[in-house]
């Protein structure tokens, strides 16, 4: 286990280093992406632009700018170009909303995905399977912002069942926290539910044809025990891997559109605002933070693999 952790940590450092360089360079090669031009304002003179370049270090070689930025990120002192706000503080401020969104949605899409996938596999070829297949495809095909907008209009604006937008912290008012997140949870989950149910159905159908399943049935185990204890357990292994990566993606700021539509003020919304203003420091930090979560959750899923399937050994 120690060796596994060390190897994974080393991998993480390499991944973060590569991603940080790649992200930083992207914003250097954008034509007229010089932040000094935007910071200087519309009536800026070349003198003002030069002063800003000096002040922010935009006149230094790219590798120096990169090292300066990374040093500020690692020491927690990195500030955004446009608003000059501490980026880490902003991410910390948005994290509760993003975690609430991602956590609730991930539970929903996993549970519903498992339920519908299992049902579909067990009823393969029947009418209900076909109906579920169509529903899954609809779910996969519907972009989350469409679902979010329609749900918001119908259930919040027209019927007033849910609030129109915003986020209330769990500590402040648990009921309002729940009410404010119901629509975002389902809007974000629908696409994943459709996808997960199709993947699980396929896995289960493959597993149902395995020899050991036939053996378990021949031994006289009940169908429920065979399905839950053998088929579902084995079929869930690849799904867990997907779930971990998707969850990390969402919590790392991937639910941009849902956060924007529902105005949750989470990390994704901050990412969207930063991208729109080409504000490199927040984008860099959010990308690295997302990558960090993906690597860490991926390692955790590997550990979970061992629990689900004892034949698997931990190797980096």
């Amino acid at each position: 286990m120690t060796r596994f952790i060390i190897q994974r940590t080393a991998q993480m450092v390499v991944v973060l280093f590569c991603i940080s360089i790649f992200t930083f360079l992207i914003f250097q090669v954008i034509p007229n992406g010089n932040p000094a031009l935007r910071l200087a304002g519309q009536a800026a003179t070349p003198q003002t632009i030069a002063a800003i370049e000096r002040q922010w270090g935009f006149d230094k070689p790219i590798y120096v700018q990169y090292l300066d930025t990374m040093q500020k990120i690692l020491t927690g002192s990195v500030i955004s170009y446009s608003q000059q706000i501490n980026v880490l503080d902003q991410i910390k401020r948005g994290l509760p909303a993003t975690i609430s969104l991602a956590g609730g949605a991930a539970v929903i899409w996993l549970l519903f995905g498992m339920a519908l996938g299992t049902l579909s596999a067990l009823r393969a070829g029947r009418f209900s399977d076909r109906v579920l297949a169509v529903l899954s495809l609809v779910g996969i095909s519907m972009p989350s912002f469409v679902v979010a907008t329609v749900a918001l209009y119908l259930l919040a604006y027209k019927v007033h069942v849910f609030p129109l937008s915003g986020y209330v912290s769990l500590a402040q008012d648990p009921w309002q926290w729940f009410l404010h997140l119901v629509l975002p949870w389902f809007s974000l989950s629908i696409i994943y539910v459709g996808f997960y149910s199709r993947v699980l159905r396929s896995n289960m159908l493959d597993t149902l044809a395995e020899d050991y399943v036939r053996t378990a049935t021949a031994k006289g185990l009940s169908r429920r025990r065979v399905i839950v204890g053998h088929v579902l357990r084995a079929s869930l292994i690849p799904l867990m891997s997907l779930w971990g990566l998707d969850f990390a993606g969402v919590i790392g700021g991937g639910a941009i559109l849902v956060e924007v539509v529902f105005n949750l003020n989470g990390v994704g919304q901050y990412a969207a605002e930063s991208i729109q203003t080409l504000d490199v420091p927040p984008i860099l930090v959010i990308v690295m933070y997302g990558a960090f979560l993906v690597v860490v959750l991926s390692a955790m899923i590997d550990v979970l693999y061992v629990v689900l399937d004892p034949r698997v050994r931990l190797t980096a």
């Binding site: 954008i30 034509p31 007229n32 992406g33 010089n34 031009l37 935007r38 910071l39 200087a40 304002g41 519309q42 009536a43 800026a44 003179t45 070349p46 003198q47 003002t48 632009i49 002063a51 800003i52 002040q55 446009s82 608003q83 000059q84 706000i85 902003q90 401020r93 912002f145 469409v146 907008t149 329609v150 918001l152 209009y153 119908l154 604006y157 129109l164 937008s165 915003g166 941009i256 559109l257 924007v260 539509v261 529902f262 105005n263 003020n265 919304q269 901050y270 969207a272 605002e273 729109q276 203003t277 080409l278």
Partner: protein, 562 residues
Amino acid sequence: MTRPARTSRRLAAGAALSALFVAFLAACGGSSNSSNPAASTSTGVNGGTATIDMASAPDSLDPQYGYTVEAGEADWITYTPLLTYAHASGVAGTQVIPGLATALPVVSNGGKTYTLTLRSGLKFSDGTPVTASDFTYAVERMLKLNWGGDSFFTQTIVGASAYLAGTATSISGITTNDSTGKITIRLTAPYGAFDNLLAFPSVAPVPAGTPFTNEPTNPPSGVGAYIIKDVIPNQSFELVRNPLFASFHIPGIPTGHLSTIKVNIITNTTTEAEQVLDNQVDNFDAGDTVPAALLSQIKSQAADRFSLQPVETTYYFFLNQSKAPFNNKLAREAVNIAVNREAFQRLAGGTINPGCYLLAAGLVGHPTKPCPWGTLDSADLSKAKSLIQQAHLVGAPVTVYGEQVSPVEQWVEYYAGVLKDIGFDVTIKFVDGSTYFPTVGSQTADPQTGYSAWAEDFPNPVDFYLLVNANSIQPVGNRNRSYVNDPHIQSELSKLDVVPTSQLQSVASQWSALDYYVASQADELVFGYGTAPEFFSDRIDYSTAVFSPIWFNDWSTWELSK
């Protein structure tokens, strides 16, 4: 939608997509626009709380850094400068009045020396007495924080440029006397709009010792009707009444009615509009754009609390005269004749007013004569085609630059279509909004023609004439994107630039003649002027609310309805 600085940076992604899908859901009603009269006598109640939804967060509420419309709305009633604008709707709101100064400046030395006196007994909201040298401190802080309009000051005040460059430790052109309150400012050359510069909240005094860093979460104390507090960047902030301000008895500056003004940053303008329509929130921020899908519904259901107020923003396509084909006046004339300016208005869902002059309709000097190129709702394609043939430009390649954001995208496509119809070989080049203006303002790109817009920094024609002033041409951040270098314009500007703001009316006819000349030279393809939404809930007394042509909604005039 406009230029990248004193304008909203909207989160178009979600909002635009939302608007798209609301379009087929929203019920459409008849349209009847109401217009808000100028502030009348109070019929509302004092105290209470109003909430505002704002789609774009202010860049900063620190007065020496904040430059966007959203920042200005909050800052101008929190940080009163030496001079300020009358709290009135319409043209009356463009009048410069004394703020913290006892009177308008005494101008001497051929327009190069401005002398003002600070009112006595003023205190910042934290109780610290205000001194004349706090003005100097604010100017220095504004320069060191690289406020978006700092070049107005570095180009005018003696020693400001050296101070910014770090070659001087103070601004030699400003001298103050704390015991008498006297402030003397020396200019490098006469500049008639200097009164307007002194009315920016960015030069409003702040306590000496305020850090020379942007303070977005903890803006400094100021002298104004309100105090900014509880700032959560990109999420919310509040304004509460300043209990000290009423005792200063500054004429013409309201002391505020509402106890608290809560501002929520909400990136989805569809939700923002729905909340105000539904009376859940009291105001749709004037810096935001009402989603086109909801406009008719709002006009129908909230006719008594919604209007589109004209603002001094000019929309135009620049025509680069430094290169073919627009170095040929016939080509410029042809495009001015060929477009139907009302088509641009329709493409924007009625949110702009058509026009052909550089000076927007509410500005001194805006010509009253008909456009030199025909009526605003007509286009003469056959005449335009013949001009292009006469100039031997049929088939000439033209690249049109634009942003891919509504309605600019539609405007660019319409304009490109017209250029094609009259004989040019047209290519459209869309550039992302975050780099659009740096791109078209760069000599490297050197575009032939493209979309542009100019929102006033201050209500003086001088500000708009930066667009055709040869001295504005620069390799980066170029404002004169048409590369106009006309001796007649330069000669007129040298005379008009020095006329003090207080005497603008005396030269209105000269400005008008110059603006007509620019239009008839087809230096730009101007097609319209902006509007901003004034949209309230039922809770706000619409009749007393002032809509400032400079800072938009004047929150200090709002009252709750009885």
